[in-house]
């Protein structure tokens, strides 16, 4: 019983770190631009497919593919911002919603056309395998993915706190008009924000492809999961996002171990609803 629980917590913590990385992109975009990107999960799906394409074409390991997919997703994010989202910023909220939902459907349909609904996976990764500590199994791929996720989350925290561009993003997040008056170019800042948000999905996509497969309709899973993590963490707290990701990961793992694998999402959404009900700002939200 205790062994199963400990094993579940170990697995959950590692998956939770990856969930936090996925949710970070969504959190930045939502926090800075006040844009609810319903297509965020599809960005993860696209990243995973690109990771597959790069990995297959160049015979690269999935974890190395972000070297190429991160710049690709960064520019894809910037183009998406300029072509679609920029035009919605001063519009009613429902316009943003329609545009991002439309983008979600567009990306899913495009993936269906290009990859024919067939799930794609890379066969091998040098981080596949496992080792044991104190009788508990540690999956190497999850451990590496968790460590890399935490490193990237730390890097983004540093960027937001210590660099001019990061401070500009935070300023725009706090008060858009005041930041504009202080010389922050909001267009450039927003484009950079959306680009970074997209690029983070490329990192997550590469890590996920080292042990998972992707399919055209799989984006929705990551999209909803990101929203749960974000709702739990609240806006503006990166450590909060990590803790929220871990809570979701552990809840999932323990539900599978002790209850029923089918109730995995039930646990996640129960947390989501509870948080929205009891603490709409999230556990660590600044606003």
């Amino acid at each position: 019983m205790i062994e199963t629980a400990t094993q579940g917590v170990i697995s959950g913590v590692m998956m939770g770190a990856i969930y936090a990385l996925i949710a970070l992109g969504l959190s930045i975009v939502f926090g800075v631009m006040n844009v609810t990107n319903f297509a965020h999960g599809e960005f993860v799906m696209l990243s995973m497919y690109l990771s597959y394409v790069v990995g297959t074409a160049l015979a690269w390991d999935a974890v190395v593919t972000p070297v190429i997919t991160v710049p690709l997703l960064f520019f894809f994010g910037i183009i998406t911002y300029h072509l679609l989202l920029h035009r919605t910023l001063r519009q009613m909220y429902v316009v943003q919603l329609a545009v991002t939902v439309g983008l979600q459907i567009l990306m899913r349909s495009a993936a269906l056309i290009v990859w024919n609904a067939q799930p794609r996976a890379l066969q091998y990764s040098f981080i596949q395998g496992n080792f044991e500590i104190g009788g508990f199994t540690i999956l190497t791929s999850r451990l590496v993915a968790a460590v890399v996720s935490l490193l990237f989350i730390g890097g983004i925290a540093y960027f937001l706190n210590k660099t001019w561009a990061g401070k500009a993003m935070r300023a725009a997040s706090d008060d858009f008009d005041a930041a504009s008056l202080m010389g922050v170019n909001y267009k450039r800042t927003y484009a950079l924000t959306f680009g970074i948000g997209s690029a983070l999905t490329a990192v997550a996509g590469g890590l996920l492809m080292s042990f998972q497969q992707t399919d055209p309709v799989g984006g929705i899973r990551f999209g909803l999961l990101s929203w749960c993590v974000l709702a739990l963490a609240g806006l503006g707290s990166i450590p909060g996002l990590v803790v929220a990701g871990i809570i979701v990961g552990v809840a999932e793992a323990l539900t599978v171990s002790f209850f029923d694998p089918r109730s995995r999402l039930l646990a996640v959404y129960a947390i989501f609803i509870l948080v929205l009900w009891l603490r709409p700002r999230g556990l660590f939200g600044r606003r």
Partner: protein, 422 residues
């Protein structure tokens, strides 16, 4: 007086009988004019998450129609050719039903092939029965033929047959190779298909009083199966009978590989995942040694099947998959029914009731359908199910799917236990 009245009455009766005999009897209805070609519909999920199966099924039906037309069409109807029209069933039961309505109203087919997903068949068969169009379904859930549909036929085996075959394969192969197996875990995705497969395996195990130590269900869109595999590891059964859908087979294959846990054998049931080309490509070495039940035998050594396999390979680069094979023999069963109807109901062979009678009258032991079907005979019962359902077992050996069971149909010996088992 009374006698005269009686004579008059008798004369009237005789006169009425004579007049009646002279009156021309109504002519037998004139033979219905046949159309220029026989339209056959294919409704398959061509987009959405089931598109892999639907597209393969479509190719199977197209090749069958090509072969039928090349061989002279429906000879009992003067060599009438078949024309295939295709409609996308989409990715849910409502869209499948709408697609069936659209297919019938636009094209008026004599029969529809496909739908693949059982809930799609359940929804679409409501329309085909109402419109009196024959539906030849390639779905596995047993209940689809238990809804009282009159115009629905399923030549292929059902999911329970698949589950039973997976169990039988393990039991007999272990016995033949003198390998002891003492416990079984049953694992399935939680749709009706997954459950029906597991039910088939469970029933057989219960008959044998074989210990089932673990039963687990999971959602088919699962993304990480390591926790479930860890649970299996703790239960440590000798054999796992697993019914995946498609994506989840890849998820589990990777989880088995990554955790390093392999029971003595992993036997798939339900024809989805593990042994199809895409799964083998995605799993690589992790798929090695895993078996899967199939409703179609690509290794069947008959001229018609060889022709189909050759043409399919030329088109796709690999042997026909389950969906392609089923739709090929389904179309061939339709061909046999049309031939029968042409011979036995020459006045109106395409009438849906005559076609239905033809399906029910079929008893196929030879011919193109029997040559591509995995059992020696096709004969429908009143429900529309084949009374002689055939299932074979394929196993991944050196990266290729090989038919390994039943022994009479096998092209290779089963590798038992799993090569990864320690």
């Amino acid at each position: 007086m009374q006698r005269k009245v009686y004579q008059l009455f008798l004369m009237l009766i005789v006169a009425a009988m004579v007049l009646g005999a002279c009156t021309p009897t109504p002519a037998t209805p004139a033979a219905k004019k046949l159309p220029a070609e026989i339209v056959v519909g294919v409704v398959q999920p061509l987009t959405g998450s089931f598109a892999v199966f639907g597209n393969e099924g479509k190719i199977g039906a197209e090749l069958a129609v090509k072969h039928i037309n090349e061989a002279g069409g429906i000879k009992s109807m003067g060599g009438l050719k078949l024309k295939l029209v295709v409609e996308d069933a989409g990715d849910n039961a409502d869209s499948a039903k709408l697609a069936t309505e659209s297919m019938i109203s636009k094209n008026h087919p004599v029969a529809i092939l496909g739908l693949y997903i059982s809930r799609f068949v359940m929804a679409a068969s409501e329309v085909t029965d109402r419109e009196k169009v024959i539906l030849i379904a390639d779905a596995l859930v047993p209940q689809i033929t238990q809804m009282g549909r009159q115009y629905l036929f399923r030549p292929g085996p059902n999911a329970t047959n698949h589950g039973a075959m997976a169990y039988q394969f393990i039991k007999e192969t272990a016995k033949a190779q003198n390998i002891e197996i003492g416990s079984l875990a049953i694992l399935n995705e939680d749709s009706a298909n997954g459950r029906a497969n597991s039910l088939g395996a469970t029933e057989q195990a219960l008959i044998d009083k074989f210990p089932i130590t673990t039963t687990l269900e999971y959602p088919y869109d699962i993304t990480d199966a390591t926790q479930i595999v860890q649970q299996l590891k703790q239960a440590n059964p000798d054999v796992v009978i697993h019914t995946p859908y498609f994506n989840d087979a890849i998820v589990f294959g990777k989880a088995f590989k990554e955790t390093g846990y392999y029971p003595k054998f992993i036997a798939g049931a339900g024809a989805c995942g593990y042994v199809d080309p895409e799964s083998i490509k995605a799993l690589g070495d992790a798929a090695e040694g895993i078996s899967m039940t199939f409703s179609y035998n690509p290794a069947k050594n008959t001229p018609q099947n060889k022709k189909f396999v050759e043409d399919y390979k030329a088109l796709k680069g690999y042997i026909p998959t389950e969906g392609a094979g089923m739709n090929y023999y389904d179309a061939m069963v339709l061909y046999e029914a049309l031939e029968y109807s042409g011979k036995n109901f020459p006045d109106d062979p395409l009438n849906p009731d005559n076609l239905r009678k033809s399906f029910l009258a079929l008893d196929l032991k030879t011919g193109p359908a029997a040559e591509t079907y995995p059992s020696p005979e096709i004969k429908f019962n009143a429900l529309g199910d084949n009374q002689f359902p055939g299932v074979v077992v394929l196993q991944v050996q050196n990266g290729e799917p090989k038919v390994v069971y039943p022994p009479a149909e096998a092209e290779a010996q089963p590798v038992f236990p799993n090569p990864h088992y320690k």
